[in-house]
Subunit: 314 residues, 2 copies
């Protein structure tokens, strides 16, 4: 893509999995002179300092964004409105203001009103993450080979969009631009619904009579354990996703439930051909995902036989 | 556990992922003098021969079990009744007859009536597998560190159960004995329901208007792709599971749907604290599964950044 961009001062508002991964990548790649790290909790800030993630550390978001030419909101989406209001007056003219939140229309709604003229507000969403959270969970390669979606509002300066795109490219991502509403619909099916379903089934298994929790854990390798990885994702972040992309999630959930009723009927009626047809169709999607380079073709994701017991041996 | 057992002749009825993994492990560990491989399709049999999985190759199950002191049904469960009827007269007195099917009460129902006196019928289920199928998909370490559940009917000779248990131990598994009905309930929640849900959500995503299939594939790393692995499992095997463990699956599905309605209501009502409480609880289950050695603690199951693109680099 474009040439490697350079920023004078990048302000990271929030320093969890994503924020700390950006900090590490920026350091490793030399994308900025200064990295101002901000978080509300003193304990987390101290941890960020111990990990040497930035060049300055702030409890105040206002202080952090002072003089920054790139400000990235990496806090839970539910906090964005208050943050935007706080930093509004301190943003440097010409600065780019972006974020990494999993929903985009809501972000435009709550942040845009606080963005002063002359500041380029470009919402963003790196499709990257793991089930771990906090400043210790980050690593500089998190964005390599992943997509980053930007959802600029109409009228945003092309040069600012390109510079932000080049920033994500430098960290290893492929950049895609789309409308915020469309982003929220796409992510509702590829991300939000899968998380909702995973949280739900793990909750169901936790509640059973007739099967003990230790049996569920013991025999989880038969399928269940894959769901628990997703259901171990950051609770606050995911609460905010479902609070802020409600309509699209409910829409996808409605379709899922309709399909599930049809499948339930197949099971009840013993409709073998119907089930086999569905199960054959779903196999193709997996093939496409592997061909698109979005997952590894190794069986069991390449987990070693015996899982963690033998990780070292693999 | 017990000392390493040795069989004269093991007959494998079916040579897919599980059958071919057993063949490979038996060869590697020297657990038998002969391995008789049987499958109905000539093409698959030739493939098994090319892979050198056995010592003799048969299209007839009767021929394969002739003189075998261990017979293992590794075909889809729906074929068991017909197979049991066919081999009934050819089973050697004193032989152990077992299987690897994912449901157990149905297996007892359709196989037991055909088991002659003097043959030890001990249903079994190795909790091991991958999303791949066929004779090429197997590998000798598939059972290492995994559970194998045996569900002997009342009155089965202890020595036969111990010998079969020692066989699975030799292949690296931990052995657990339980009632077939209880097995089916435990597996309904840990395996059958997760598969049903995964098949369903992948089907839903395949059907959408408003979001293209290529978008689903492109942005699948945000959660969806984990479901596609499970939904890529063998369609015939899973059809048979849902045909033969209907009651327990419908029972678990009922609970899942109730819970999903409650969660849907939380989303609709914007019940942040309720969601956060559920999402925090589910995180603990993941922790327990990792502590029990049933999964790897590595983020993203240890998949490399950029998935398949960078597998070599990891």
């Amino acid at each position: 893509m474009a040439e490697t961009p350079h920023f004078q001062r990048i302000a990271l508002i929030g320093i969890g999995l994503i924020g700390s991964s950006i900090a590490r990548a920026v350091k490793a790649l030399g994308l900025a002179d200064e990295i101002a790290v901000q978080t509300r909790r003193e304990e987390t800030l101290e941890r960020a300092r111990a990990l040497d993630l930035g060049t300055s550390y702030h409890l105040s978001a206002e202080d952090a964004v002072e003089g920054a030419d790139l400000v990235i909101l990496c806090a839970p989406v539910g906090a964005y409105g208050a943050i935007a209001e706080t930093i509004s007056g301190a943003l440097k003219p010409g600065a780019i203001l972006t974020d990494v939140g999993s929903v985009k229309e809501y972000v435009v709604d709550v942040v845009a009103p606080h963005v002063p003229d002359g500041v380029h507000f470009i919402p963003g969403h790196p499709i990257a993450g793991t089930e771990n959270s906090g400043p210790d969970a980050g690593f500089p390669e998190l964005f390599v080979g992943r997509w980053c979606i930007l959802t600029p509002v109409e009228g945003t300066e092309e040069t600012a969009i390109n510079k932000l795109g080049a920033f994500w490219s430098a960290m290893g991502s492929a950049v895609e631009v789309m409308e915020c509403k469309h982003h929220d619909l796409v992510l509702a099916i590829t991300s939000h619904l899968p998380h909702l379903i995973a949280y739900n089934i793990v909750g169901t298994a936790d509640d059973l009579a007739g099967v003990t929790k230790s049996e569920v854990i013991k025999f989880s390798a038969s399928g269940f354990r894959d769901f628990t990885r997703i259901a171990a994702s950051d609770p606050v972040m995911w609460r905010d996703v479902f609070l802020t992309n409600r309509e699209a999630v409910l829409e996808m959930l409605g379709r899922f439930s309709e399909d599930l009723s049809a499948l339930q009927r197949m099971v009840r009626n013993g409709d073998g051909p119907g089930m086999q047809a569905l199960f054959t169709r779903t196999r193709d999607i997996r093939r496409n995902i592997i061909e698109a380079g979005q997952d590894t073709p190794m069986p069991d994701f390449g987990r070693g036989a015996g899982a963690s017991k033998d990780d070292d041996a693999e």
